[in-house]
Symmetry: C2
Subunit: 342 residues, 2 copies
């Protein structure tokens, strides 16, 4: 028997590239397959459907020791709706399938579905289908989101050009700060459920981790501002990983500035508590579900007055150079992340 | 703390009904949500998209001790494409997400994806996306299938009327016969991989279990025959369960005839070996992925010459009576099945 190769040797992106090569591609209406936030299929002249899917496993993607089921349901929807928003499309429906072991009661599943329902209401999406089955261990959640858009409105990861400005909505790094706080408090919760840690100090970062909001507002706002981003994706793995995706698919490099990264004061406090640089949170934290996008330099004035859009840098010519300028003036290469699930 | 209710107390269908009630339904373009083989969404005047999703867990839905990974990949696609075919729509794409523990090698996943790729080629569907992640135990596969059709071509479960003929494509019960054979041989395989059981005798039933084919041919054939079924679904849980679905959604009862059930001779042999009635295989076996559909009595002549379509009975007026007439003339109530995964 020849020796076998462990899955971990390829990393998540290498593995999916290997597994999905040599698949037939003959349908000209399939405009984008694997490799963007979502798949894009033309359904009629000028109209497209946009699909995104996610598979979440207890113990790998979520830990029920500190994630309330209602929040988990909400987040499972947010994550997928965010992928649709990242294509500049509007999500209208989801399917949800779950598998649970016998340790879960119906009341627990009711909580999960309350969160899913709340997210459906907030985002204006409908539950289209799905099923339930048993699992031998733990909970598995599979969500697929369905969206639509005019074909001309779709924004891929691949459209950025040299000198385009790199922008981020909201702030980044807070979700990871929230995760660290929850991780620290987990032991306390487990030992004694009556000891309630003082979480008021951490309300913002915890909400960002537990109940992230997809930026479904941005498609409308881009239209209002008269802006069409040249490339876009959502910040699920951290700015570092997303920059690598944008640059690889657009054939560009990038330079961003540490001082420009939009980081909430509470995130900075948590970073200090843990003696980690807040910049590391922003670059490698992930799960912020903000949008990172590029616009032509000429559109700078249009976004200048938008308080929750921050220009963090610009695209450059050399695809080998993806860099960050630190406050000290030092220039560092940004390493790709995003293999955490292997 | 109040007492909690075990999930198993509701059954799969009761549970999904409870969890999905009170969800917002405001989009008039969503023509069918939960409760049919697939969701149906209008995308433009007269055109619909059709979506189906499935979550498969090792140890619950498949057993890698006797299912080759390549067949598993093929079957995972077939099952979902079958749901699209059951709406009389044409599948054009799938997404596949998998989670695997470290016991799986890349070579093993290559085999899985070879089966997925083969199915994509056979069915003319494209792999649109998906992802891979790790699991703490076993393999999880999530497949979503995407199809389209003219709105007027879609066939729901709810359109059957009294006196409509109940028809089945191909034969039923063989997949369950194959499962029993595989189950019996599993111990042999596990004890000594060099002992190859004589499986030639069981080639057909094993192929039906391991590598089922979705009836993607039927939509075209219905058009050629000039037939429009009044209701349709695929046979995934067995004729008994499917009849209950069709009757409940159509508001009818049904009478079928044991002597009419299309059962392959090899299925009959296996049934005899196991001292089980072949009728039980057909009613409660499932996983045949044939289509069960109803047609107006007046269309009987159009299907009479079709060798692989069998009329097994007819719809009746009283929704409380779903019955089978045995060879002896005895009339039995058909019990619903389909809760096997809890």
């Amino acid at each position: 028997m020849s020796s076998l190769t462990p899955v971990s040797s390829l990393g998540e992106f290498g593995l999916i590239e290997r597994l999905t090569r040599n698949f037939p591609e003959q349908n000209p209406d399939v405009l984008r397959r694997i490799g963007d936030d979502a798949a894009v299929v033309r359904t009629s002249e000028g109209e497209v459907q946009v699909f995104s899917t996610d598979l979440l496993l207890e113990g790998v993607h979520f830990d029920l020791a500190y994630v309330p089921l209602r929040h988990l349901g909400y987040k499972a929807v947010s994550v997928n709706v965010s992928d649709i928003a990242a294509m500049n499309a509007r999500a209208y429906g989801i399917t949800v399938s779950i598998a649970v072991s016998s340790r879960f009661s119906i009341e627990a599943l009711d909580e999960l579905y309350k969160g899913i329902r709340q997210a459906c209401k907030n985002y204006g999406v409908e539950l289209l289908g799905g099923d339930t089955s048993s699992s031998r261990q733990g909970m598995v959640i599979s969500v697929t989101a369905f969206g639509k858009a005019a074909e001309s409105d779709i924004i891929y990861r691949s459209g950025a050009r040299e000198k385009d400005l790199i922008c981020v909505t909201g702030d980044v790094g807070a979700a990871y700060a929230g995760l660290l706080v929850l991780d620290r408090e987990k032991a306390v919760y487990l030992k004694n459920a009556n000891v309630q840690p003082d979480l008021d100090t951490y309300d913002y970062v915890m909400a960002r981790q537990l109940k992230p909001e997809a930026r479904v507002d941005m498609a409308v706002r881009f239209a209002e501002m008269g802006i069409r981003p040249t490339a876009m994706m959502d910040v699920s793995d951290g700015i570092a990983s997303e920059l690598h995706h944008l640059c690889r698919q657009s054939g560009t490099g990038a330079t961003i500035y540490a001082a420009k990264l939009p980081i909430d004061p509470q995130t900075v406090s948590v970073a200090e508590e843990f003696s980690i640089s807040p910049v590391t949170f922003a670059l490698n934290g992930g799960e912020d579900y903000e949008l990172i996008f590029t616009i032509p330099l000429s559109d700078f004035e249009k976004i200048q007055t938008q308080t929750d859009i921050t220009v963090i840098g610009h695209m450059t010519a050399d695809p080998k150079l993806i860099q960050i300028v630190m406050d000290s003036g030092e220039v560092l290469d940004i390493q790709a992340q995003g293999f955490r699930h292997f």
